[in-house]
């Protein structure tokens, strides 16, 4: 049952990646640039939760919620301070700016916390056996948390006023303005959601692995690969992309050492961009 175990592991990893991939496609669809700071935001989210959990001694659940809110606010603030001032410029400028933002946040974290590996203050639970499958506690938590988060995002997008506003701005910002949508508010909410989703994913990653300054950076390629698989500007498809990527990566460990995960993601990106740049689930669209 080795294969099924890999499948399960892959789906769980995929679900974790689904959250920042979703966040990334939001920034792409609504803010129209590729946010390279997504990795730094993951790191920041994990460390914020770490501080709340270990230093302030909050239970991890509350630490995660606190981190989500704080990260959301930091993202909104970063937008105000940086991206808003670059609003009229080319997407390349925004790209490079996001790189600068990434350097800044990641290294502030490194400056304060150093390079040593840290961990959350949680009880270690024994893995559960379902027949021949080994499912550990973190995976179950991941499954439930991510599915809940994804459901909430789906609900927000399709059933609420804010969700419609976000979809409208993603579809056509000028038309949205003409219909009375305040794009500044939509953008602020978008960043808040982006920060929140990323922070939650960061906590899940930190649970499963370790908390260290490079943790977010290691995920940048994978997150982008997932989003590109789904078609960069399509939020829900990014989730599908992430799941697929997670499974492919796990299956790839049959042939390659697991440290080459990023390589697998890169190979997938290269293949996609050469043959199907609009992603597996997207539609060919005219370049903006």
């Amino acid at each position: 049952m080795h294969f099924v175990q890999l499948l399960v592991n892959g789906i769980v990893t995929g679900l974790i990646v689904a959250l920042p991939a979703l966040a990334l496609s939001f920034t792409f669809a609504i803010l129209r640039f590729a946010n390279f700071a997504i990795g730094a935001m993951l790191t920041f989210g994990a460390y914020t939760a770490y501080v709340l959990n270990v230093a302030a001694e909050w239970p991890l659940v509350w630490a995660a919620c606190g981190s989500a809110v704080l990260c959301g606010l930091v993202c909104v603030a970063t937008d105000r301070a940086v991206y808003r001032r670059l609003r009229g410029r080319t997407s390349v400028t925004l790209l490079v700016a996001s790189m600068g933002v990434a350097f800044f946040f990641e290294n502030i974290v490194r400056l304060v916390f150093g390079n040593s590996i840290r961990g959350f203050d949680v009880e270690v639970a024994r893995p559960i056996r379902l027949g021949e499958l080994r499912v550990n506690h973190e995976q179950i938590v991941t499954l439930s948390v991510t599915c809940t988060a994804l459901f909430l995002v789906w609900f927000l997008l399709t059933r609420t006023k804010l969700g419609r506003a976000m979809r409208a701005v993603a579809d056509d910002p000028e038309l949205a303005a003409v219909r009375g949508v305040d794009s500044d508010r939509v953008i602020a909410w978008t960043w808040f959601i982006v920060g929140g989703l990323t922070a939650i994913a960061a906590v899940l990653i930190g649970l499963d692995g370790a908390i260290e300054p490079l943790m977010g950076w290691n995920y940048v390629i994978i997150v982008f690969a997932a989003a590109i698989l789904g078609g960069l500007a399509s939020p829900m498809a990014a989730v599908a992309g992430a799941l697929l990527l997670g499974v492919v990566e796990e299956l790839a460990t049959l042939a390659l050492p697991s440290t080459y995960r990023t390589g697998v993601a890169f190979a997938l990106i290269a293949l996609l961009l050469l043959f199907r740049p609009w992603g597996l689930f997207g539609k060919p669209r005219v370049e903006r």
Partner: protein, 238 residues
């Protein structure tokens, strides 16, 4: 019924004006059509009035309320509705959602929503049966109808139409202008730009000739339509 006043408006892109000192007074409840050769600045004028392009100089007022400093969302709340020419519906949303968008962000309570939807359906029966279809799957003519319907959902006082007949087959053109006529008779002030000079001026009370970003003539539409000289010089005898 509200009037629309455009006074001495200069606007353009990248520091260069496309329209110069444009003044048009659209009386309350009237229908005014702006015509002119390609590139004369009609679209720029429309965008300035809609609030999508800031004016460098001049004043725009809706029923006496100065909206020059307001952006498009605020003007929408001031009961100005705009139907753009091409990108006029949200393609990734359903017809029902598009209609809802017409009203949702204008601070209007939910009760009136159903009533307005019925009104739009009465005008465009084709839309009624396809509530859940993606707007992107509609034909050009149907999208135009939907865009028009969305603008009407807001119960506007002033309606801006950017080339309502563009890209429509003759059947749809007639249907469109009939709908415009009906809407106008309900008391809505209509300000449109049209490439189809004949159709546009036939239905309007006032005609404005815009050439190279400047107003060359403002006169009763019928007179402008009948003016041979203008036609030969600027309008290519359309």
């Amino acid at each position: 019924m509200q009037s629309l006043q455009i006074e001495g408006v200069c606007a353009g892109y990248g520091g260069r004006d496309i329209i110069h000192d444009v003044t048009v007074d659209v009386p309350a409840g009237s229908m005014v059509c702006v015509v002119g050769p390609n590139g004369s600045g009609k679209s720029t004028l429309m965008k300035s009035v809609a609030g999508l392009l800031p004016v460098r100089m001049g004043r725009i007022a809706i029923g006496g309320l100065d909206v020059t400093a307001l952006g498009a969302p605020a003007r929408a709340r001031a009961r100005l509705a705009y139907v753009p020419q091409e990108r006029n519906v949200f393609r990734n949303m359903s017809i029902g959602e598009n209609l809802r968008m017409g009203v949702e962000f204008l601070g209007i309570a939910g009760a009136a929503f159903e009533e307005r939807v019925q009104r739009v359906h009465a005008l465009f029966p084709e839309l009624a049966s396809r509530h859940r279809d993606q707007a992107g799957n509609l034909s050009g003519g149907q999208r135009q109808m939907l865009a028009f319907g969305c603008a009407l959902m807001a119960d506007p006082a002033v309606l801006l139409l950017d080339e309502p007949s563009a890209g429509l087959s003759p059947k749809y053109v007639d249907e469109m202008f009939e709908a415009i006529g009906r809407v106008h008779r309900m008391g809505i002030t209509v300000f449109m730009i049209e490439q189809n000079t004949r159709k546009g001026l036939e239905h309007s009370q006032l005609g404005v000739l815009l050439v190279s970003g400047q107003v060359r003539a403002v006169m009763p539409a019928a007179a402008l339509l009948g003016d041979e000289q203008f036609h030969r010089q600027y309008l290519g005898g359309h």
